[in-house]
């Protein structure tokens, strides 16, 4: 039972005569007296941590919350997330609030060293004093200290030197003052302002969904910075984050506000399912946001016009369905689709949402970069359950079953079928992706060992 138990357990019913009471359920471990105001602040801080999705990077599946150790595979080496529990030796227990706030907004550690920009401080720079105060109180008082030492990064010298990061910060990271001035710009409604704050600030959506420049800096940090913002990023852990702007085929142009809130709440809707790192983001973060905040996020995202104005809306085309159902001569891609994919995704490509997502008209399928679709066919992926949708669905991996040429054929078919219009892929593309998928990058792959995923601190991570 972790100290972050989401709600205190009612044990009143156990108080009947003659029954042995449980001893195993501990009360939430709060270091100080829990008067209501302090408790409210901790609760608020936890909400900020969820909005900022801290756990996605600082909590390993099956480990104690916020003890770090999550591996980022970067071109320059492997970076491990840090222990941000209030442990005084291994965590941040000795940090003052000022040091804490500086790390989050400016990327500077308590010892003055610069953080790698894997920590999204250029986005967090927007966060308000009020939110950061609550967050600090939560981490100091609402999180259980864990004495796990920080794992050493494997970034070789000279890239391991941190002083160049200081220059990076000067060049690319906004000053907190500038960031907050940007956050305070004029919006059409308070709801849009709130949505912009959540997306551009704590939500740090752009860290993945905005393209990065030559020095790994995000090419845009806010909607004000132009159409690059949230127009889709480069692959992270082998998954390509799609555009969150209004493109009708490759972005969210066809998604309604209700589609978006359902997706952020449950990881699934009738148009698609979360996988890869987005599954993690929903699991640790967005599922806990209030309906108002999710609606604000959705309305803000819907306010972003298409970066690519040339796309026509997706229209269903029955030709592929007819071919699959004809029983006639099929192309290798059609044949592979029938034998491997159609059971769940159907000959119409419509799937059985929300259990099995559609491929027809799905923005992820039509992404210019085929990385995600190749990746998911090779490794499979698990959509974990959430509070509102506890079922977990796993797509199995086909890496042992399909050759590079077969994957290329079926991906090419899917990207062309039912009105989809994305470019073909080759066996060379597949071979390249397959080579990248070393086990360490597959942290979202389905559980394979007996009970490996079942842990007290992450009951919901056990795929069913």
């Amino acid at each position: 039972m972790s100290s972050t138990a989401r709600k205190p357990l009612s044990v009143s019913a156990s108080l009947f005569c003659g029954l042995t009471l449980m001893a195993s359920i501990s009360a939430p471990a709060l270091a100080t007296e829990t008067d209501n105001a302090a408790q409210d602040l901790i609760t608020k801080g936890r909400y900020v941590a969820e909005a900022a999705d801290c756990a996605a990077c600082h909590t390993m599946p099956g480990s104690a919350p916020f003890a770090g150790g999550y591996a980022f595979q970067l071109p320059i080496g492997t970076l491990y997330s840090s222990n941000i529990t209030p442990d005084k030796t291994n965590g941040i227990g000795n940090w003052t609030e000022a040091q804490f706030v500086r790390a989050i907004r400016e990327g500077v550690r308590a010892d003055g060293a610069s953080l790698y920009p894997a920590m999204p401080f250029p986005s967090y720079a927007r966060m308000t004093d009020e939110d950061l105060h609550a967050l600090y109180v939560y981490f100091m008082q609402g999180v259980q200290p864990v004495a796990d030492p920080v794992r050493a990064n494997t970034i070789p010298w000279p890239l391991s030197m941190r002083f160049p990061l200081t220059f990076w910060r000067w060049v690319f990271a906004p000053s907190p003052e500038a960031a907050r001035a940007s956050a305070a710009r004029t919006f059409a409604s308070p709801e849009l302002a709130r949505g912009a704050y959540l997306v551009e600030g704590p939500g740090h959506c752009g860290a993945c969904h905005t393209k990065r420049g030559i020095a790994m800096q995000e090419t845009a940090l806010t909607a004000q910075d132009g159409p690059h913002y949230l127009a889709g990023g480069a692959a992270v852990d082998g998954w390509t984050p799609p555009s969150l702007r209004g493109e009708p085929r490759t972005g969210l142009g066809a998604w309604s506000v209700a589609d978006l809130t359902a997706f952020l709440r449950t990881g699934r809707n009738t148009r698609g399912s979360a996988f890869g790192n987005m599954d993690t983001a929903v699991h640790h973060g967005t599922q806990y946001l209030t309906e108002d905040d999710l609606t604000a996020i959705a309305r803000y995202l819907k306010s972003l016009p298409a970066a690519d104005a040339t796309q026509h809306p997706w229209q269903p085309d029955p030709a592929a369905t007819r071919a699959l159902r004809s029983g006639g001569k099929l192309t290798p891609g059609q044949r592979l689709y029938l034998d491997n994919c159609a059971a769940c995704h159907r000959s119409t490509g419509a799937g059985y949402a929300p259990a099995f997502p559609p491929l027809a008209g799905n923005p992820v399928v039509m992404n210019r970069a085929p990385d995600s679709i190749i990746h998911i066919i090779l490794t499979g992926a698990t959509l974990h359950g959430t509070s509102a949708a506890p079922s977990s669905f796993t797509m199995p991996g086909f890496d042992k079953r399909l050759t590079d040429a077969q994957v290329a054929a079926v991906v090419t078919f899917i990207r062309h079928a039912w009105g989809n219009d994305a470019a073909a892929v080759s066996d060379v593309d597949v071979a390249h992706t397959r080579k990248q998928l070393i086990p360490a990058t597959m942290q979202s792959a389905p559980p394979t060992s007996e009970g490996a995923a079942h842990s007290a601190s992450h009951p919901a991570m056990d795929a069913n």
Partner: protein
């Protein structure tokens, strides 16, 4: 091997199938700390149902991946009390599951309610036919609970299972073309019925022509995507036929793993321990109160789990076995007809008839689901038994569950050549043009059919095996032969080329070598009289009131319908009374003796 005692919990649930999962969910909702112990492995649709590897007949139906390993523990079997029982070493006649989800993971999904007559069969027979109608040696009993009392719990289970079906009446009003013999319902099925496969379609028309009343079988295979009471989501059935013996890769077949575990695991007060084989229930010095259970873990350690409430929800005969090993209630003695634990052990009386259609009709037997078309004209007491002189009945149905390659190669039409090109031709013709009609009938309880501890054989855990003494009796043989013979009109209307009527043969003993059904019942039955039932009408042990024993073990006799729907309803019924009465009382009996 080490011994260890764990901190106490409120409830220990033995078994993770439907009964255990329902009880655990209900008691977690009541705020109790619940530990579920499962003797087998962790199982999930993600792993065990991963497509396409999961649709492997050799692994699933030949090597029995999801089933109990008889090398660890099994039963001994004999037909009569004057025989020596020998162990059931190879799974065949019945297939108990092992692993999380239990039999609920490998079942097909046929999901019936019980008939009102079957729930009070003794009273009903006496009322309609007189007490002399009951043959000597038949231990006919009532459940002690009526259909009207169980109706809300049948309804609840269907909404959790995502059951597809078609009602006949809802709240007294005829609403659809469902089973005219079905009792009234408080609500329709949560999903429309599965569509008829071709053979079921043929059967529907032929049965109508023969003057019977066909209906769509209720199936816990979702006919559409479904979100259940607990927020758990199901995909729809695509008729792939890999239901029975397999985890459903579509999450379309209801299972504890798909329909309950996702929500159950979110309870912080819930713990599941797999590879935990419960050896016995521990009683205090009075023998009237359970203090917990002791189980053996994967490393061979003996772990004591103290608990205030013990729910036995293992497979039917494992529940009986645990009661006998633990000394809960008095063991049944057929000689003196005393004792309750082990009595009224029953099975299900199923025989299969095969219809061979003309070569122009392809029966597409690879298609399958838990759906189909049935007639209930000869089930339960839907017909006058007076002229026939037997008790019980049997639905007749085409429940095409998908014939896989190995089974297809093994199953030629009766009388076909056994080798060579003639066999190949017969196998191909049988697969392409035949189909099966099942008569799945009731099995009554008898004084000399029972369960007890074997005096000779021991399990790998060093405990006496459970001994089954079972044989077919005249009443049930005549019932089966009568019902199957009613198929002649259907076969004629089908325009079949040939038909083989599968009937029980008088004098032919129960044979464990052929698969029949896993629908074993009784042995620790519910009832109104502590002298003839082990459990009261709330499934509470008469003898140890903080032990509830949930499952088909509670059925006083075997019915024609599949048992799971009644098991689930009884679990919700029992849990409801634990929550609303027992937890608020002093932990004593819910029914005074």
């Amino acid at each position: 091997m080490a011994e260890k005692t764990l901190p106490p919990v409120d409830v220990v649930v033995v078994g993770s199938g439907w009964a255990g999962s329902i009880m655990a969910k209900e008691l977690c909702e009541a705020g109790l700390s619940v530990v579920m112990l499962e003797r087998g492995a962790r199982r999930s649709t993600a792993r065990d149902g991963a497509y396409p590897a999961s649709i492997d007949e050799l692994e699933g139906a030949v090597r029995y991946k999801l089933f109990q390993n008889p090398a660890q523990t099994t039963v001994t079997v004999r037909n009569r009390t004057d025989q020596e029982a020998v162990p059931y070493r190879r799974l065949a006649a019945f297939l108990p599951g092992a692993g999380v989800g239990g039999a609920g993971l490998h079942w097909t999904g046929v999901h019936f309610r019980a008939t009102p007559q079957d729930l009070r069969l003794r009273s009903h027979v006496v009322e309609r036919y007189g007490s002399k109608f009951i043959p000597e040696g038949m231990a006919l009993q009532d459940y002690g609970v009526t259909y009207e009392e169980l109706e809300p719990f049948f309804d609840r289970a269907e909404k959790v299972f995502g059951t597809s079906g078609l009602a006949y009446t809802v709240n007294g009003e005829v609403t659809g073309k469902g089973n005219v013999f079905a009792p009234d319902r408080s609500d329709d099925f949560p999903l429309p019925p599965l569509r008829d496969v071709y053979t079921a379609h043929l059967f529907r028309h032929a049965a109508t022509e023969a003057g019977y009343h066909p209906y769509a079988m209720p199936a816990a295979n979702a006919s559409q995507p479904y979100t259940n009471t607990y927020g758990a989501q199901m995909g729809p059935c695509n008729f792939c036929g890999y239901c029975s013996d397999y985890a459903c890769y579509m999450s379309a077949k209801a299972s504890p793993n798909v329909n309950i575990m996702p929500a159950l695991r979110r309870h912080e007060n819930f713990t599941l321990r797999s590879n935990a084989h419960v050896l016995k229930v521990l009683l205090d010095s009075t023998g009237k109160k359970a203090t917990g259970v002791v189980y053996q873990d994967a490393e061979g350690n003996h772990i004591t789990q103290p608990a205030g409430l013990v729910i036995l929800a293992a497979f039917q005969f494992h529940n009986v076995h645990l009661m006998l090993l633990s000394g809960i209630g008095k063991a049944y003695d057929p000689a003196s007809n005393t004792g309750t634990v082990g009595r009224n052990f029953t099975y299900q009386n199923i025989t299969n008839s095969t219809v061979l259609m003309p070569p122009t009709r392809s029966t597409d037997q690879f298609i399958g689901s838990a759906g189909g078309v049935a007639i209930d004209d000869f089930n339960s007491d839907n017909f006058d038994h007076g002229p026939h002189g037997f008790i019980g009945g049997s639905p007749l149905w085409v429940n095409q569950a998908g014939v896989k390659p190995i089974a297809g190669a093994k199953g030629s039409f009766p009388g076909a050549p056994r080798w060579g090109s003639a066999w190949k031709k017969a196998a191909i013709d049988t697969y392409r043009h035949s189909f099966t009609i099942n008569a799945q009938g009731s099995n009554m309880a008898y004084r000399d059919v029972y369960l007890d501890l074997d005096p000779t054989w021991r399990t790998s855990y060093g405990q006496p095996m459970l001994r089954m003494t079972f044989d077919w009796k005249d009443n049930d043989i005549r019932m089966n032969r009568f019902v199957v013979s009613q198929l002649e009109g259907v076969v004629k209307a089908l325009g079949a080329q040939d038909a083989h009527y599968g009937m029980r043969e008088p004098g032919k003993p129960f044979d464990v070598r052929d698969y029949q059904t896993t629908h074993l019942c009784g042995g620790a039955i519910m009832g109104e009289d502590p002298k003839t039932s082990a459990l009261n009408r709330y499934l509470q042990s008469w003898d140890v009131p903080n032990v509830f024993v949930v499952g088909a073990n509670a059925f006083p006799q075997g019915m024609g319908y599949n048992p799971t729907g009644l098991v689930a309803a009884l679990a919700y019924w029992s849990a409801h009374h634990i929550r609303t009465q027992w937890l608020k009382g002093n932990g004593g009996p819910l029914v005074a003796q």
